[in-house]
Amino acid sequence: MAAVLPVESSERPVAGHARWVRLTHWILAASVLTLAFSGFEILMVHPRLYWGKTGNDLTPAILELPVSRNYRHGGWAPPVTFDRGSTPVVSAARTYDIFNQNSWGRSLHFLAAWFLLLAGLAYLAAGFLGGHVWRDLLPRPRELAPRVLWQDLAAHLRLPMRPAAGGPPYGVLQKLSYAVVVLLALPLMVVTGLAMSPAVTAAYPGLMDLFGGSQSARTIHFFAFAALMLFLLVHVAMVALSGFRRQLRAMTIGG
């Protein structure tokens, strides 16, 4: 296995981040911040999360977030019953003028999503083909030993933190967090996002089944967002604590 992977490649940069990593890092960073901002606006319009195919104000939510005046607004006309079967379905008109800035919120979200998608695909293509993912992001089996993980965690909790050079080689927790973000969380954001689209799911209905329905996909989209925001917080803190100026220089002008 190791023989086919360019682990000991002689093309390995001396230090710092490769130029394409720096470029895609900042395009992705700007996209993620824009997506988080516009996505939160979209969440504020309907701060209720569901599990399954559908969900709305007249059906039970699994989580309601107090993030706008739309939270439990209660402005509904008395419901009219359609069907008096075992589970009656109703309709009700909304009498409350909700917060809704989705006109720009949604368009900004998808504009940023195009940049995320294109920069992300470029990153993954270069990362897998050029060896960056195998070499720098995926931990070696021996690094996953509990003792090694524990040592790395303890090193992160001691202050002042040891100054670090910008760029690989990374510690095992660094590898794991970067790998989870670029190989799992960001692709999951894109795919759960697409699983909410009526046009995309018309062509690929399996996307809905993959997550147990479009509303489940929306809920997963929210929790993956929350996880990414937690990563962002820790990431920026680590950059600040391990030599802010040097780290920033390494990810911008390089070296």
């Binding site: 559908t54 709305n56 009219v80 909304r94 900004l108 062509a203």
Partner: protein, 258 residues
């Protein structure tokens, strides 16, 4: 078609798509076959999405249809009683007319179909119901974030357009309501088999809150494209932003397949 010519075609489509997207990002839209961007970066993004979806997604794919047991409760939002002058979307011109028609149980209601059709004409509800009907249990996805499954019964828009003799040059179909709303579709969504003019919901006639007597159902886009309280359908060769009552000038995306 050989593999090679298919490759050439797809490459040409790709180049055309990229060139037009690039050109549009720089210069704004001058084509009368595409929604305008007004030089607004958000509308440019909408246009890239529209072009990409039309290029990458197979046209005419059917949305999933559900079983009766999957039907859920349905909020009625985004529109108001077209006859109520205190509502924000009230039309001083058409509101009183709607009030009259509703009093007469929509017996005098007519749907006008005009523009680029060989035989501009009006349809009564009875005439629409006499055309072949389609019943579908589908998911309504609102831009706000919620969704609902309901059963819709109506006439495929395609049948109505064909009955009026839609001209081969037609590229867009615009829908005008009795309140101050209007929306437009391209021919891919207009002729889609699940795009219907619905007069029934969940086994009964369409309730007022859901757009009686007739509403559009566009299952491949978000809910706000499915215009309620239909008054008029206008077929066009060129894109029309529908002015102050269209989604574009109010800051909303025209194509919302996502």
């Amino acid at each position: 078609m050989t593999g090679q010519s298919r490759l050439v075609l797809s490459r040409r489509q790709l180049v055309t798509g990229l060139a037009s997207a690039g050109g549009l990002l720089v210069a704004g839209c001058s084509s009368r076959e595409l929604p305008p961007t007004y030089g607004n970066v958000l509308r440019m993004g909408d246009l890239v999405t529209y072009r990409a979806f039309r290029t990458l997604l197979p046209a005419g794919a059917l949305v999933r249809e559900y079983a009766r047991g999957d039907i859920t409760s349905s909020p009625a939002v985004g529109t108001s009683d077209p006859a109520d002058p205190h509502q924000g979307l009230y039309s001083a011109e058409r509101g009183p007319l709607f009030d009259q028609l509703r009093t007469g149980a929509f017996g005098d209601w007519r749907l006008r179909v005009e523009g680029r059709v060989a035989k501009p004409r009006e349809f009564s509800l009875a005439e629409l119901m006499a055309l072949p009907s389609r019943t579908q249990i589908t998911k309504h996805t609102c831009e706000e974030g919620w969704s609902a499954i309901a059963e819709w019964r109506g006439v495929p828009l395609r049948a109505v357009l064909e009955a009026a003799g839609i001209l081969p040059t037609a590229r867009f179909v615009n829908f005008f309501a009795f309140d101050e709303t209007a929306e437009g579709l391209d021919m891919i969504d207009a002729l889609h088999p699940q795009t219907i003019l619905a007069y029934g919901m969940n086994g009964r006639e369409l309730p007022l809150a859901h757009g009686a007597p007739l509403r559009l159902r566009v299952e491949t886009q978000l809910g706000y494209k499915s215009v309620k309280f239909l008054e008029r359908i206008v077929v066009k060769d060129e894109f029309d932003d529908l002015g102050k009552i269209g989604s574009l000038q109010n800051g909303w995306a025209w194509y919302v397949g996502i």
